[in-house]
């Protein structure tokens, strides 16, 4: 949504009688509102559902394109105050029924306190990048398949194909989705332009795309387009597609070594990224060992792996014939307890308790 439209909509919701409505960051919202008539409306609903499974979504449409599920609250356009109030009441009943209300004290009369605590908002932001997949037992072949995704069927793989096409043909290249140009790639594959905002791109990037919906072709530069470095987008597309998984074919017991550190001050920072990078730069480890040694969820390791892999920052060595799972204790035995406590206190001072969820402004 354009900034001016957001401001207009904010004016509208502020005047809804009986409610104190505000437009907030999506991680903190109680209710989402999506225009499903938008070209990418279906993707936005699906992506939102993946990120916030229990959140009511008010869907606006004049063409009856509603994507009905138990959390959908549908509003026929034009949206009047009466329809909006009715839908909001229904949404909030949904929200309460889902047991999402946090104990934040008594709301002022006529005001509904936000149901989402700061902590849960932080957790949700972290989930943008790593999803919620529980740890897998690597010895269970059937279950460990869940750790994999196929980058080629996501926007990640298609953007990569467009970059290859651009470099091979030394031509500005356009990635077209259902007839609409969504991304342009510079002739050297190192820059891109897009008319889509980051949320629309994210929605497209999280859902597998039908091959027939996407075309890659030579294009031309249009005056006034904003071109950006491709690296942060490659990183984001990998995180959004992977959501805590790893590319198909990755050996869970391969030894991972970091060849170069990603520029973490200018890239989205998934949880535990710095610590994983630190481990892989000085003690190459397998994916499973990394999670064990750092005592973090496997999905955090998988997400960071997928993003680094997309940028070519890793070396994966063949697994040793006799794999030995390293435990946290075996690695930390020689660590100085005093130093361990010191580092923890320094990081607590620098970042507070929540860390690994910030998204720098690169778009």
């Amino acid at each position: 949504m354009e900034e001016i439209d957001v401001r207009r909509f904010e004016l509208f919701v502020r005047h809804v009688p009986g409610f104190a409505c505000h437009i907030v960051d999506e991680a903190e919202a109680e209710v989402a509102i999506i225009d499903v008539d938008h070209d990418l409306g279906a993707y936005m609903v699906q992506a939102h559902r993946m990120l916030f499974p229990g959140r009511p979504v008010m869907q606006l449409s004049s063409a009856g394109k509603f994507m009905r599920d138990k959390h959908a609250v549908c509003i026929e356009k034009p949206v009047t105050i009466e329809k909006f109030v009715s839908a909001l009441e229904q949404s909030l009943r949904e929200s309460d029924a889902a047991g999402r209300q946090a104990d934040v004290g008594e709301p002022a009369p006529g005001h509904r306190a936000t149901a989402i605590s700061q902590d849960s908002a932080e957790l949700r932001k972290a989930q943008f990048y790593v999803g919620s997949m529980p740890d897998l037992d690597p010895s269970d072949v059937a279950i460990r398949e869940r750790a994999y995704y196929q980058p080629g069927i996501y926007l990640q793989g298609m953007f990569e194909s467009a970059r290859r096409f651009a470099r091979a043909n030394e031509a500005m290249t356009v990635l077209v989705h259902r007839g609409a140009p969504i991304l342009k790639v510079g002739a050297d594959g190192r820059s891109y332009a897009s008319a889509l905002d980051s949320r629309s791109l994210r929605s497209l990037a999280m859902i597998p795309l039908a091959k027939d919906d996407v075309r890659i072709m030579a294009g031309s530069v249009v005056k006034g387009e904003a071109w950006r470095a491709a690296t942060p987008l490659v990183w984001d597309l990998a995180l959004w597609a992977a959501r805590g998984r790893i590319p198909g074919g990755t050996a869970l017991d391969a030894t991972i070594r970091l060849l170069r550190w990603p520029n973490l001050t200018r890239l989205a920072l998934p949880p535990d990224a710095v610590r994983i990078a630190g481990l892989w730069s000085c003690r190459p480890s397998s994916l499973i060992d990394t999670a064990n040694v750092l005592a973090i969820p496997q999905r955090n390791v998988f997400a960071f792996f997928s993003a680094c892999q997309a940028l070519g920052l890793l070396e994966c060595a063949a697994p040793s014939p006799k794999p030995q799972t390293r435990s946290r204790e075996s690695v930390t035995a020689d660590a100085e307890p005093q130093r361990r406590g010191l580092f923890k206190r320094i990081l607590g001072k620098l970042f507070g308790m929540a860390h690994g969820d910030a998204e720098p402004e690169h778009e």
Partner: protein, 179 residues
């Protein structure tokens, strides 16, 4: 109470004083003087002895933040300042005439300290001049056989940037220790 220190170094104008101010709980102490040499071109005042700031931790201990003077003729102080330090934060000004030369110089000057601890590189002022690219620093560090050194683009005024540099420094020293 326990006392620790982190050292910030780099050429004149790279942002050492500002980076320390971003992390410090006290008003940073700077021993700035009006520059009388070629430094004038970069900034009118420069640090001639050292910068000092302090982070107070919740157990009452203190992490002292020391910034070395940027001018190379004060390099006799560097050994003294680094004694007992946790690690080194090297800030390089991308807008200087030869930042690769600066990188080589400081990596060499602090070689002994880096060998005992660790270093991270923050590249500042890329908004002023974006060439050389960040990859060039990685290539240079490869040549110095220091491929594993974290290199981040930073704005020294931005606490998050400097905090991430420090986190990377600690992670390189001991990735498990911060749990």
């Amino acid at each position: 109470m326990s006392q620790y220190k982190i050292i910030f170094t780099g050429p004149v104008g790279a942002g050492k004083t500002t980076a320390i101010a971003a992390l410090s709980d006290i008003d940073p102490v700077s021993t700035d003087a009006w520059a009388s040499d070629e430094t004038q071109v970069r900034k009118p005042k420069t640090t001639v002895a050292m910068d000092y700031g302090a982070m107070r931790l919740d157990d009452g201990s203190t992490v002292h933040l020391y910034g070395t003077p940027g001018q190379e003729r004060f390099d006799f102080m560097w050994d003294i300042l680094t004694e007992g330090g946790i690690g080194l934060v090297l800030l390089i000004d991308n807008a200087r005439p030869d930042p690769m030369r600066d990188l080589r110089f400081y990596m060499d000057a602090f070689k002994r300290f880096i060998g005992k601890t660790a270093v991270v590189v923050g590249v500042s002022r890329r908004d002023v001049k974006d060439d050389p690219p960040l990859e060039a620093y990685g290539d240079q560090l490869d040549q110095l056989q220091q491929s594993m050194v974290p290199v981040f683009e930073v704005d020294a005024r931005n606490k998050r940037d400097i905090s991430l540099l420090v986190e990377a420094l600690l992670s390189v020293i001991d990735p498990v220790a911060s749990v």
